[in-house]
Symmetry: C2
Subunit: 405 residues, 2 copies
């Protein structure tokens, strides 16, 4: 079971989390619970680090910030004991959860589940501080970076061979698209790992991408559900599982969208070998992710090159390309920040042709201009003017039969 910051925002909510845990224990389950810091705490700790030094030592930052989850873990163990559930807290270095030494954004390398499993034998719930680990050689605290508690939970579930990893969030599952945009969006009962990975990558914020990767690699059935449910009588959520466990696979499972995109077009780029590398290597070296690359051959052996970057990286990407303009040899550069990426995801696309073509036609009928298209095995994405986001999402949601009755 994993509970995020808003679910443990104060002691009263922590006591509510304890009741959720007790329900599972009473049902005869052995439970490990992963908790985040009380909401707001991590921001406070980060602000203090920045106040102490604008360029702070990441190792010390980790020691400071990891204290947030430490507090929640101890408090939840206390709250559990108070309602008669034996429990103990496990900090990252105690479990231990070994990570790389890339402080501030460490990756889990291995988890010793033995201590936690020993605790189960004594009838003890393991309350694990999320988001943190320890580097084996240095013995120093690491953190996994923002959102890392989901990853902690899935990785611990894998390490202790859990039947399931329940992620309690402020929504009751994964929806076919954002219900704020499409009121007819439906909660899915099941979604395949691959689909969830695409959705998370493409802007669905319910789970961290990295946690879905870990779940997929280790085959951890992950259940997204609401922490605001009555602990005595919880509702249903969405199970993220293997394709084989999904009885009725749909062609398109969900529609994701992202407004955090920006488009850059280079005009009349010399169409010679190595030019793509010349454009994209400097961006990659600056840590800028490039997406949706489209190349159109134009007049006299030159080409127009269009691609997207995250809108936060837009100005930086522009500046980098301007600096190497002469070297690459292009005529001009144009950009657009008010664009959105709409994606349709579904493992059924593998066996169905023409799925994307139907979308292009439907969007054209609504007067939505498509600026770029990319496709992969189980998804396709279109880049459009941002103003058409809601219209496009609703159009595709209806087109693929996702609207609730």
């Amino acid at each position: 079971m994993k509970f995020g910051g808003t679910s443990v925002a104060n002691v009263e909510r922590i006591r509510n989390v304890a009741r959720h845990v007790k329900r599972e224990v009473d049902a005869g389950r052995e439970v490990a619970v992963v908790v985040s810091a009380m909401s707001g705490k991590t921001n406070e700790l980060v602000a203090w680090c920045k106040e102490a030094a604008p360029l702070y030592d990441q190792r010390e930052y980790d020691a400071v910030v990891a204290s947030g989850e430490q507090v929640t873990a101890g408090l939840l163990a206390i709250a559990l004991q108070e309602i008669g559930v034996p429990a103990r807290s496990w900090l990252g270095w105690q479990a231990p959860i070994y990570t790389s030494d890339t402080h501030g954004s460490a990756r889990i390398e291995s988890i010793e589940g033995a201590g936690i499993i020993e605790g189960f034998k004594r009838g003890e719930v393991a309350v694990v501080a999320g988001f943190q680990g320890v580097h084996k050689d240095s013995g120093r605290i690491t953190t996994l970076g923002r959102g890392g508690s989901d990853t902690s939970a899935v990785a611990i579930a894998a390490a202790i061979h859990a039947d399931r990893c329940d992620i309690y969030t402020d929504v009751d599952g994964v929806y076919t698209t954002d219900p704020r945009v499409v009121p007819k969006a439906r909660r899915m009962d099941r979604v395949a790992f691959e689909e969830m990975l695409e959705m998370a990558s493409l802007g669905a914020k319910v789970l961290q991408v990295r946690s879905v990767e870990v779940a997929m690699v280790h085959g951890v059935r992950t259940y997204v559900r609401s922490s605001f449910d009555d602990p005595a009588n919880p509702g249903e959520g969405t199970l993220i599982c293997n394709e084989e466990d999904i009885v009725e696979a749909q062609v398109v499972t969900g529609i994701a969208f992202s407004r955090d995109e920006a488009q850059i077009t280079l005009r009349n780029v010399a169409d010679k070998p190595g030019v793509a590398a010349a454009v994209f290597m400097p961006l990659s070296e600056a840590g800028i992710n490039v997406d949706m690359i489209v190349q159109v051959v134009s007049e006299k052996g030159t080409t127009d090159m269009t691609f997207t970057v995250g809108s936060a990286d837009y100005e930086r990407a522009f500046a980098i390309l301007d600096k190497i303009k002469a070297e690459i040899g292009f005529a001009s550069m144009a950009g657009e920040k008010d664009v959105a990426k709409i994606s349709a995801i579904g493992i059924g696309m593998r066996s169905h042709a023409g799925v994307a073509a139907r979308a292009f036609r439907a969007l054209a009928e609504k007067g939505v201009n498509i600026r770029a298209i990319t496709t992969s095995e189980i998804k396709f994405s279109v880049l459009i003017d941002e103003a058409y986001t809601e219209l496009a999402v609703r159009t595709l949601h209806s087109l693929y039969g996702l609207d609730a009755a």
Copy 2:
């Protein structure tokens, strides 16, 4: 160097602490700094534990509360690096500081100074989280109980063979008595371990009793000084050191007082062997400290027994004694909460007779009634009506020549 909660109350003050540390490093010293939690933090964490469960698990309490010093240690390391002083934080389990497993009030058993000393060789300041340790067998975090940061500092100073342990406080040293009561109180330049131990035990709040014990046992010269001094130009403090290092030993060094006393008198107690044990054992078993026992033989083989307890324990002591009244066999019980204990301390008393007698006469002359007296090798205490506290303290302070010129 040790800095308490008010000295690290916010990031600005932590940066000021960093400047104090830099001064010592610039003077060519190898420095370990022990820090408390930011003031108010520990109280907040304790309140959360109590809210989670009135009777909380001390082990979880320790995990929660130890996070306070963890945050300060990381922040100070960052602040030091920011002003060009290499530094790293050491948590209790990292140093490691091994303690007993009496969670919430653990005692330090041993400290591995090797890691910290290795750091010195790399030119690194060690920033140690005070107040905490780890139990060797269980690997769980322990705390030393309130005020334990002073003890951490002295014990670490001993472990790394420090020349001196500087305790930075909100006062600039140890005074002959409380300056709020006696404006003519003087800061002492030096005071012997034994004297300081008596003063701390008798109500002087500048240092924790346990920290003075550790300093005395390991011979750690401890310097009490102000954290509010200009870091570039600090003032003097008080050095707590061996008797031999004090050139001009005074007969009386200081006057301590405590208003947290209560007097209990048992009348007509059967004067038979074992009666004292019958009275005091049940109190001891209930964790009640008994002090200043005076016995006066009265009529018919009975005795009146007067003793003091902490005023917080008064009602409890009364109830316990009432329950065993028949068993012990005494006629009646009387009590008084409005009493104060005034003590004079000085290693010079060992070699001077009649020191206490002068006090009794001087107090009598001022009309101060003495309810009980106890003496030891280097101190004597009188119990008086609380209303006379200031008068008595000032009288003794003048009598023994302690008034500032």
